[in-house]
Subunit: 128 residues, 2 copies
DNA sequence: CATTACGTTGACGTAAACGTCAACTTGGTT
DNA sequence: AACCAAGTTGACGTTTACGTCAACGTAATG
């Protein structure tokens, strides 16, 4: 299928799939979030790059800065092999988790309040 | 207690409580998110303003723009009393809910992936 | 009454995340 | 050869969300 390990994407390919601009993708690279292979001048994106991009956009939807997403992405790289690095990684994981749990909490409250409000509005509509 | 309906806050009061700057609070007002009473020049914030500010900051944590939070805030105002307005409100509610559910989904995936990664890192640490 | 604390309104500065040209190159297609 | 589509690298512009002075008002305090 299209998810096989050797699939390669062009920049406009990725842009279409994720509904973003090529400019954005190049910008992410300039910020150290992506580093695609090259074929002459042209960028070639691997399945790993695809996954990384997915991570970036998920981060964006959650209100993360690119710098934060970059940290998370680097966290997943196995290059950092000494203990200090690993422990820094674990700290980052904990931080991320706390932040996510705060967001989860915020969302639950929001959904509850929206429910209440929706009910009130519908009631108002019925009594018109 | 301090949650009684008549409690009034100064601007630096709110700034301290929410750990933001007075500049930010004034900015939110200039963007139409807050509209405190005045006593001469000075701004006086009611319990309603306090709640609105809480909503703004919750929106921020979830990555919303101030413009989006403003819409949500206006949604809660009972001033819009005709049917067209109400239906627009219901649309906004649905939109917000969809967005929140997408975020919820994103967060669940993130937490799962972090769990997996944490496990792998801890394993690596133990085998050092 | 002079100082200090707290507030006010401009006005300009800034970081992040791209958008938008402009001016090329390059690999096929007619 | 001529051309088009898709790609490239600058470089400058733009929006959002404030930060950071400056210059001033006002109220209470020593």
């Amino acid at each position: 299928m299209s998810k096989d390990k050797s699939t390669i994407y062009s920049i406009s390919d990725l842009a279409q799939r994720f509904d973003i601009t090529t400019r954005a993708i190049r910008f992410y690279e300039s910020e150290g979030l992506l580093s695609p292979k090259r074929e002459g001048q042209k960028r070639l994106y691997s399945q790993k790059d695809y996954t990384t991009l997915k991570l970036i956009l998920r981060g964006k939807r959650l209100g993360w800065s690119l710098a934060e997403s970059r940290e998370l992405i680097q966290m997943y790289k196995p290059e950092q092999n000494n203990q200090a690095q690993y422990e820094k990684v674990l700290e980052k994981v904990a931080e991320s988790r706390d932040r996510l749990q705060q967001q989860l909490h915020d969302i639950q409250i929001m959904l509850m309040e929206l429910d209440e409000h929706e009910a009130r509005v519908k009631e108002a509509l019925e009594t018109i």
